[in-house]
């Protein structure tokens, strides 16, 4: 697929007459949605907007079939089994689901990296305050990925007490991907469960939960072309079966009496209440779209754009890229800060030129506080971004840096 054929699938991009009208480089926050996703959701609302999985009529069956299809698509995408896919609202909910469901004992340890999004940090901090668990942070190495030696040290130090290692696949701060395979091996060796926050990683790289041997994997639909309000928690079947649903009600039980109930099988027992069918159907279309483009192509485009922008940024003395300088290590993300200039200010100046980027502490406040850095500007590209857009960005930023 070339630039124009890819972009023609995105109504937001189609509307513009020139790139000066709209350049979207905030894909790490949320991506744009292709027509197929929007159409699928519209079709649900227009043609069969009924209850799925409980109503046996024809339209109900259509909804159930679509939901099952999406579950299968998602399962295939991450190399999991259908019943291991739980639909949630987003990554945050998926991680909280795990935090609430594991049977914690006082003194149990949770290890995270030092670059976790608040969604994979706050639940563990709260857990320590409420239940007396211990939360410890594994520092990153000089390449910006988790320091495996330090991880091993901590696993040894807590000797069997580490119940969970919860790490991001790719950091939303700098795009650097953690060696999940090694982390999982190491963690399992010390009896820990492995939770991977793949919100930022899965949209850009293929993931096999079998290959990685992770116990839980969480991601959001909206960061990978899907609708907002859709998320997924993958959990190993035997682990999910042990979990007590933290929310029960309609759709989670086979039957109930006035004083007892019998839970549904997994994953339905975790999906309480009427589901966001349109969103789930849209998510299925998003998965199809990503598979159509292909991870290889996505990675190629990420690198091309990242390299172009990185080369420009590296040529400016006042600019500091967060994470490794090598673009191939950072997926579609280029986060940087400028000496003597506020990140929000630069982002708003870019916005005046219709270039949309993210600024501030990027939901990784802990890292910025630790490093005493005020904030950063994050440019995050996706496969529908073009070199022309990157050129426009660098040209505009160049003018901004002359002014500030």
């Amino acid at each position: 697929m070339n630039d124009s054929s890819i972009q023609s699938n995105f109504p937001t991009l189609n509307k513009r007459k020139s790139i000066e009208e709209f350049v979207y480089f905030d894909n790490a926050c949320t991506t744009l949605r292709p027509k197929s996703v929007i159409n699928a959701m519209n079709k649900y609302y227009e043609e069969y907007s009924v209850c799925g999985e409980r109503s046996l009529h024809k339209l109900g069956k259509m909804v159930s079939d679509k939901v099952h299809e999406t579950r299968s698509l998602v399962a295939r995408l991450i190399d999991a089994r259908k019943e291991e896919i739980v639909f949630t609202r987003n990554t945050t909910e998926s991680i909280n689901f795990v935090a609430y469901s594991i049977d914690w004992k006082k003194g149990d340890v949770v290890l995270t990296s030092d670059k976790e999004h608040n969604s994979n940090l706050l639940p563990w901090i709260r857990l320590s305050a409420k239940l007396g668990t211990v939360h410890a942070v594994v520092k990153s190495d000089s390449n910006g990925s988790i320091d495996l030696l330090y991880l091993k040290e901590l696993l040894e130090k807590y000797n069997g007490k580490v119940k969970l290692v919860a790490v991001t696949l790719s950091s939303n701060l700098d795009g650097i991907t953690n060696p999940v395979l090694e982390i999982a091996r190491l963690g399992h060796r010390y009896g820990a469960l492995i939770l991977v926050d793949a919100a930022q990683g899965l949209p850009h790289q293929s993931v096999s939960v079998k290959k990685f041997d992770v116990d839980f994997l969480a991601f959001s639909g909206h960061k990978m072309l899907g609708p907002s309000g859709t998320g997924v928690l993958y959990g190993k079947k035997k682990l999910l079966e042990e979990f007590e649903p933290f929310m029960i009600g309609g759709g989670t039980v086979v039957k109930s009496t006035y004083n007892s109930y019998c839970l549904e099988n997994i994953p339905e027992r975790f999906e309480a209440g009427l589901q966001d069918y349109a969103g789930i159907i849209g998510l299925g279309e998003a998965v199809k779209f990503i598979q159509k483009v292909g991870y290889k192509e996505i990675a190629r485009r990420d690198l091309e754009l990242n390299k172009y922008i990185t080369d420009y940024l590296c040529s400016i003395e006042r600019v500091h890229i967060i994470g490794a300088n090598e673009p191939e290590k950072r997926g579609g993300i280029i986060s940087f800060y400028v000496d003597g200039a506020d990140s929000h200010m630069i982002a708003l100046m870019l916005d005046e030129a219709n270039i949309m980027v993210r600024s501030g502490q990027l939901c990784v406040h802990s890292w910025f506080s630790d490093k005493d850095i005020q904030g950063a500007i994050r440019v995050s590209a996706y496969f529908y971004n073009t070199l022309e857009e990157a050129e426009y960005f660098t040209k505009t930023l160049s003018n901004i840096l002359k002014a500030v």
């Binding site: 929000h344 005046e352 030129a353 002359k402 002014a403």
Partner: protein, 306 residues
């Protein structure tokens, strides 16, 4: 400083838009932090700066660079201008309340509260001659004027009101009901001077004088009728005659009195006396010696009373 400016600007704009209300809240938070000696770390200032410099950048990099470099200086300048303009606005509001004009008593110029300037509007008394010096508000005076020559209502009051107006003039006709209301509500020594500045029936001033000389009580009723009548009616001898008859005068007696040479001389004397006031337009109202030019709101006249 930028936060203070933003607070003022967005507070005003916030009256009309919810978006600006939110910005006003952010600006207030920033200002509040400053006045409580805490750092303004809300990022608000940077946001405002980013937006402004970003817009300038689209026009000129040099201009954006210059503005960014001296942003704080500009903020201070705008702050001082805002303080000054706020002061002027308050002063203008006070003047409008007190004198019916933002610029002070009898002062022209633009006034936001009276954009058409109707409170200062007058019918010019210029007679086509070219005086050496145009009269101004400062020249207005009653000190050399013999008010005994004019019709008055003594009320044994410490307040004196002299109304110089013209029956056929729009602005006098606008001011008259307001002054009349004041006279009804307050105890005031009142003198009315008709000063014809429009083309009126040539007999009109003579009739007025004759009527006042023959019967004072009926004259004041006739005075009211003249202001109630249309301007066209005041051009018509027939209509004037009817009004004279309506208030109870004997028309022939009035006509005879008006034709007398003494009446003509008296009217001429009145005109000469009026010229001594140096009025330049009607209506001009003197309250306790202070002049008020143009039709003012009721409160302005009321506030001039002792």
């Amino acid at each position: 400083m930028a936060c203070i400016i933003a607070l003022i600007v967005f507070s005003i704009m916030g009256l009309f838009s919810a978006t600006h209300r939110q910005l006003a809240r952010e600006a207030f938070d920033c200002v509040f932090r400053r006045v409580t000696f805490r750092p303004c770390n809300t990022g608000f200032k940077e946001k405002i700066r980013g937006r402004i410099i970003g817009k300038l950048l689209k026009r000129s990099v040099a201009l954006a660079k210059f503005s960014n470099k001296y942003f704080e200086v500009f903020a201070w300048i705008f702050f001082l201008l805002t303080v000054a303009s706020t002061g002027y606005t308050i002063k203008g509001g006070y003047n409008f309340y007190r004198y019916g004009s933002c610029n002070g008593l009898n002062q022209g110029g633009f006034c936001a509260f009276d954009p058409t300037g109707k409170n200062n509007a007058t019918s010019s008394v210029a007679d086509g001659s070219c005086p050496i010096k145009q009269p101004t508000t400062k020249d207005l005076t009653l000190s050399a004027v013999d008010l005994e020559l004019f019709q008055s209502k003594k009320a044994d009051s410490k307040n004196d009101l002299v109304f110089v107006g013209c029956y056929s003039c729009d602005y006098t006709r606008k001011a008259y009901p307001v002054v009349k209301k004041l006279l009804e509500k307050e105890n005031i020594n009142y003198t009315f001077i008709h000063f014809s500045v429009k083309n009126e029936n040539e007999n009109f001033p003579l009739y007025v004088y004759a009527a006042s000389k023959i019967d004072q009580e009926k004259y004041w009723r006739l005075n009211d009728l003249f202001f109630e009548a249309s301007k066209e009616d005041l051009q018509s001898q027939e209509k004037i005659d009817k009004m004279v008859i309506k208030v109870g005068y004997d028309l022939q007696v009035i006509k005879d009195e008006a034709q007398k040479e003494t009446t003509k001389q008296a009217v001429q004397k009145q005109i000469e006396e009026i010229r001594k006031t140096h009025i330049y337009g009607t209506p001009t109202v003197f309250i306790n010696g202070r002049s008020i030019v143009g039709p003012k709101p009721y409160r302005v006249y009321k506030l001039m009373l002792r």
